[in-house]
């Protein structure tokens, strides 16, 4: 059994990674490259679980180097990218919605030797026009939505877009602007899957803010959430008020947004900036972090998860009262622990993602273009499941 697989992208630099959110059968990740001089590409990484083989397809993204990539939750062919565009000695990061050409899957796998084969190009659906608002930091799809709403964070603006006419037309339905001293700029954001998708969390500098999308107003603000810049956020998929954040102070913090004075928990395992934090979509005790110390750390945060005593007791189990009570007695709250530290990367890891199809699988991407796919250790998997 191979626990990890590496894939070295044929590009030198890459930052953007996403799982293909709408794809629930194949284990598939999308990587966007960063190159100022050559055409940028979207690498579609398919992991064949049975044969332990990685298959790669390439799509051309000629708009510019990709800083952020995000797949639609409804249509697996649709994705957004944030890319930088240089014009007249000005660099601007724009956002657009793309569709993968339908033919990419049919025999367009790029073999290592076959580089002369011209890759297909992404089909532009629409621009999320941001010329008025400045560079876009990221685009967020509505979690588990119908693929018709996205949010883009541009400088200090939150823009909520409606995608119409099969995503070919994007209109701003509402927006909010963060006002304050100095040049405020959003660095990251996350659309909460809870509360009917009406909440958003954003990060700017050291602060984390919560927004109500109905009124487009701020609902909470964690000032100085981190000692330095906040790099990433993620919502606990099973606990609606819980939020993880990471930043330049090398820490990962867990927040209950109802009590923002102190973090619920704080991890300090990385030795440099933590760029990415991701909850496992199903088992929220599993937490993935990637850092510019070139490490990926998989943590088991049982104590603050939705399953602090192991797996959830189902209803049918409850009927057998005596047994479950005995079980409960034997179970103490499990200890939070580091499950594994992955050191395959040799450059800064800027992105980590769980697979959308297999909850025990995850990918990490470092700047040198190395994508590593790992599994949660089997022993832990069984401990969580059984």
């Amino acid at each position: 059994f191979v626990n990890k697989l590496q894939y070295l992208a044929r590009i030198d630099r890459a930052r953007a990674l996403t799982a293909q959110t709408a794809e629930t059968d194949a284990i598939r990740f999308l990587v966007g490259t960063q190159s100022l001089k050559f055409d940028n590409q979207i690498h579609i990484i398919d992991f064949d679980d049975e044969n332990n083989v990685i298959n790669k397809s390439v799509l051309l993204h000629d708009a510019g180097e990709i800083w952020h990539i995000s797949g639609s939750p409804a249509d697996k062919a649709v994705l957004t990218t944030c890319y930088s565009k240089t014009s007249e000695s000005r660099v601007l990061t724009c956002a657009a919605v793309w569709r993968m050409p339908p033919e990419w899957e049919s025999g367009n796998h790029e073999s290592p030797d076959d580089s002369s084969n011209n890759p297909q190009t992404l089909e532009l659906l629409c621009h999320l026009d941001n010329t008025a608002h400045g560079s876009v930091a990221c685009v967020l799809w509505e979690p588990m939505g119908d693929g018709k709403r996205v949010i883009s964070l541009a400088e200090n603006h939150v823009l909520l877009w409606d995608l119409q006419e099969s995503s070919t037309k994007a209109t701003i339905s509402s927006s909010a602007t963060l006002e304050g001293k100095g040049q405020l700029k959003f660095t990251a954001g996350k659309w909460s899957p809870h509360h009917n998708n009406t909440q958003l969390a954003t990060a700017n500098d050291t602060a984390i803010r919560g927004w109500d999308l109905r009124s487009m107003s701020q609902i909470y603000c964690i000032e100085n959430a981190h000692g330095q810049l906040v790099r990433d956020l993620d919502f606990n998929p099973n606990k609606q008020y819980y939020l993880a954040s990471c930043g330049d102070d090398c820490k990962v913090k867990f927040w209950d947004v109802r009590h923002i004075n102190e973090p619920v928990k704080c991890l300090e395992e990385h030795s440099h900036w933590v760029w990415s934090v991701r909850y496992n979509h199903s088992h929220d005790q599993l937490l993935l972090t990637g850092s510019s110390d070139s490490r990926v750390i998989l943590s088991n945060m049982v104590s603050i998860s939705s399953e602090p005593f192991g797996h959830l007791v189902d209803d049918d189990e409850l009927s057998d009262n005596e047994e479950s009570q005995q079980e409960d007695k034997g179970k103490e709250p499990l200890q939070d622990s580091i499950i594994a530290t992955y050191e395959e990367h040799e450059d800064s890891v800027y992105a980590v993602e769980w697979s959308a199809a297999d909850p025990w699988l995850f990918a990490s991407l470092s700047y040198d273009g190395r994508l590593v796919i790992n599994r949660v250790p089997r022993a832990l998997k069984y401990r969580i499941l059984l």
């Binding site: 190159s35 240089t86 050191e343 040799e346 450059d347």
Partner: protein, 759 residues
């Protein structure tokens, strides 16, 4: 006569003749009858009565010759002589005979006299007999009369006693009369008296009880009262209760209001003198009254002592409980730790005086409760000392902070040299304070303190109290609070000055190497700690101190690295790198970085040793620069310049590995200057790298980065343990900048050098 019989064997008839002559003389006949008829009438018979000497002589002259005459004459002479002798003896005997006779007469006379006397005497005594009986009777009457008089006078007397408050007399008088009155109560007069007495005694008892209740009298008066009442047949139980309740008020009253402002010794003194001594007095008089008194009569049956003893214990316990609560409250108020001797002396006195109670009342729990209080006070004291030490430590640190902050504003040069001095003085302050606290606490175990030989003070106090509770806790506190500096400061604006972190780190390290074992040895020696219970070993404490030192130093590196990082980050983020002008100078921020690094180097050098560094080449800055600008750079850039060129991924990976030794950005720092500086520089350059990767550069932007990196190269290598580290990171920075450059045309190496050397 025997001479007359000589010669005895010559003539037996002669002998017979002599014998018969003697018989004759004494009037005795040979056969008991006088034979007068046989007497011859011969005148010549010399022995006959009719002897005629003339005849005899004539006869002899005629008959006898001369010889015979001579013989006869000599015989005659002998016989005469014998006879003379006989005659003489006979006279004497006769005379004696007469005397006896006379004596006998006199004796008779005497006996007669005696009889007369006896008779008289009997007569007299007979006469006197009557009179004696009379006298006895009279005397009896007299006594009776006196008693009667006493009885009749009793009410008056009792009244008088009552007036004079001579209760004792009254009671004894009444006691004497009581039985009689009881006996003759059927007689109206006596009954009257008895009733009177009864009333008076009732009154008296009333007065006594009144006196009892008033409580104004001293314990001694009171005990007298009780004694009298007891004699008046008051129920002992009630008396006990009353006595105790009175004693209760009298012992506690003056003590009830602990006035503020008195020091503890004075307070305890008052407590001892007023409460404990009067309690002792009460106990003593109570015991005298109820417990130790000889049991007489009906009182014996009531088993008073047992009952009284029980009551006494309850009484003493309740009072003592109250006293103890007061004392404890007062002790708790004793928060100032400046002078421990006062408290110890007070506790000693407190404890000592309670021993008196244990002597008086052997079974009482009071003294042991007192010991408990002392133990609690000692425990509390240790806690107070600990917190005092902690406060002192905080204050000292505040002083150090001020010292660190103050000169920095005035002249920057003055601040740094004082760092070792600050460390020494801080360390000495703490040590001295600890020593003085130990000395203070040591008072608890001084030989002349009564409670020092209690098991608690011999064992637990020394080991668990002083060693663990005070010394070990304090050391742990130092480590703990040091760790807190690491946790709080970094996040919220870095309120702790880095120099303080450095200083504390050194302090903890010094503790690890020597101070802890010194302090603990000192404690163990002073308190002769016998470890009955497991105590924290020195090694564990040292490990903790080392951990704290490590953490502080790590944090120092982080904080200093962060300061430099922030400068670099701002300088990269705020600049428009696409539209910048051609570089003519090293940017000011780089100079600042080098300056700051230099001053950090000086600062760390004051407290930490140099450390080891890898050997340098003769001219590191030059040599490495050439390496980095030539082969390595090209290898690193190769993929980015030729992205679509077929390239063996394996080879690429290997090349990559060759040059990228993993760098732990915040790896643990060693306790030396080089390691600290290496850490800080690593953090700073890594930040630089990450910031560069987020930007897009124009041609001149890249060139500026080249210049800046070269400048850093020139100065930073000397601070780190391995200069390759600096080279690697700077390579990465320039490489990343080149990759992020829209028009990557690097500057000529010689031009870079010129610019950098110009400063």
């Amino acid at each position: 006569m025997s001479s007359a019989t000589t010669p005895p064997d010559s003539d037996p008839s002669q002998r017979r003749r002599v014998h018969s002559m003697l018989k004759h003389y004494y009037g005795l006949n040979e056969e008991g009858k006088v034979t007068e008829q046989a007497e011859s009438l011969d005148p010549c018979d010399i022995n006959g009565p009719h002897f005629d000497p003339e005849v005899y002589l004539n006869k002899l002259r005629m008959e006898c010759s001369l010889g015979e005459l001579m013989d006869h004459e000599s015989c005659m002479v002998k016989q005469i002589r014998f006879i003379n002798f006989i005659c003489l003896s006979t006279d004497t005997i006769r005379k004696m005979k007469n005397d006896f006779k006379k004596m006998e007469d006199e004796m008779d006379c005497l006996s007669a006299n005696m009889a007369a006397i006896t008779e008289f005497s009997a007569h007299i005594s007979g006469t006197l007999q009557d009179q004696h009986a009379q006298i006895t009777k009279l005397s009896g009457v007299h006594t009776l009369l006196r008693k009667l008089q006493f009885l009749f006078e009793l009410p008056a007397r009792l009244n008088k006693c009552l007036e004079l408050q001579a209760y004792a007399q009254a009671v004894s008088a009444h006691r004497r009369a009581r039985c009689v009155l009881q006996q003759y109560s059927h007689m109206p007069s006596f009954r009257g008296i008895q009733d009177d007495c009864h009333v008076i005694m009732e009154q008296l008892a009333q007065q006594l009880r009144q006196k009892f209740r008033d409580g104004g009298s001293s314990a001694k008066d009171l005990s007298e009262c009780v004694e009298l009442l007891l004699q008046l047949d008051e129920p002992a139980e009630e008396l006990c209760d009353k006595f105790l309740s009175h004693a209760h008020s009298s012992t506690t009253n003056p003590f009830l209001s602990p006035t503020a402002g008195t020091d503890i010794l004075e307070f305890i003194d008052r407590g001892c003198n007023e409460f404990v001594s009067s309690l002792c007095l009460v106990i003593a008089s109570y015991q005298e009254l109820f417990i130790n008194r000889p049991q007489e009569g009906e009182l014996a049956s009531k088993n008073i002592p047992e009952m009284a003893n029980g009551k006494l214990h309850v009484f003493v316990d309740t009072l003592a409980a109250r006293y103890f609560s007061l004392v404890e409250r007062r002790i708790q108020e004793e928060k100032g730790v400046s002078d421990n001797s006062l408290l110890v002396r007070a506790l000693d006195r407190f404890h000592r005086r309670l021993q008196a109670i244990s002597k008086l009342l052997p079974g009482s729990a009071v003294p042991s409760q007192g010991t408990e209080i002392v133990v609690r006070a000692a425990r509390e004291r240790i806690k107070q000392y600990l917190s005092a030490l902690q406060t002192f430590y905080h204050d000292s640190l505040t002083d150090v902070r001020q010292a660190l902050a103050a000169p920095r504003g005035a002249t920057s040069k003055d601040a740094t040299p004082s760092l070792p001095e600050l460390l020494t003085s801080l360390s000495n302050f703490i040590l001295n304070q600890l020593k003085s606290v130990l000395a203070s606490v040591h008072l608890f175990t001084a030989k002349d303190i009564t409670f020092s030989n209690k098991p608690y003070f011999k064992g637990e106090f020394c080991s668990q109290g002083v060693r663990e509770g005070l010394v070990v806790s304090f050391i742990k506190f130092i480590c703990q609070s040091s760790r807190q500096y690491c946790e709080s400061a970094g996040d919220r604006g870095g309120s702790t000055p880095p120099a303080l972190l450095l200083l504390l780190s050194r302090l903890c390290l010094d503790y690890e190497t020597s101070t802890i074992s010194y302090i603990l040895t000192l404690t163990d020696e002073q308190f002769l700690v016998q470890h009955h219970t497991p105590v924290t070993p020195v090694t564990a404490l040292c490990a903790e101190a080392r951990e704290a030192a490590q953490k502080l130093l790590n944090h120092y590196v982080k904080v200093q690295g962060l300061i430099i990082s922030q400068m670099l980050r701002k300088s990269v983020e705020t600049r428009d790198w696409v539209n910048t002008i051609e570089p003519r100078n090293v940017r000011a921020v780089m100079k600042r970085v080098v300056e700051d690094t230099t001053s950090i180097d000086v600062q760390v050098g004051l407290l930490y040793e140099e450390g080891v560094r890898k050997a340098h080449s003769s001219d590191s800055s030059k040599r490495t620069f050439s390496v980095y600008s030539s082969s390595r750079q090209q290898i690193r850039y190769a993929p980015s310049y030729t992205p679509s060129a077929p390239m063996d991924t394996n080879l690429l990976s290997n090349i990559h590995k060759l040059f990228s030794e993993r760098i732990d950005i915040f790896s643990p720092v060693e306790f030396n200057k080089v390691s600290v500086l290496t850490g800080i520089i690593k953090i700073s350059l890594k930040t630089f790298l990450e910031c560069v990767r987020l930007r897009t550069f124009g041609r001149y932007g890249l060139q500026q980065i080249q210049v800046d990196c070269h400048y850093l190269q020139m100065y930073l290598w000397r601070f780190v343990s391995d200069e390759n580290l600096v080279h690697f990171l700077l390579d990465e920075i320039v490489g990343s900048a080149a990759h992020r450059c829209l028009d990557p045309s690097p500057m000529e190496q010689s031009v870079i050098e010129v610019i950098c050397e110009r400063g």
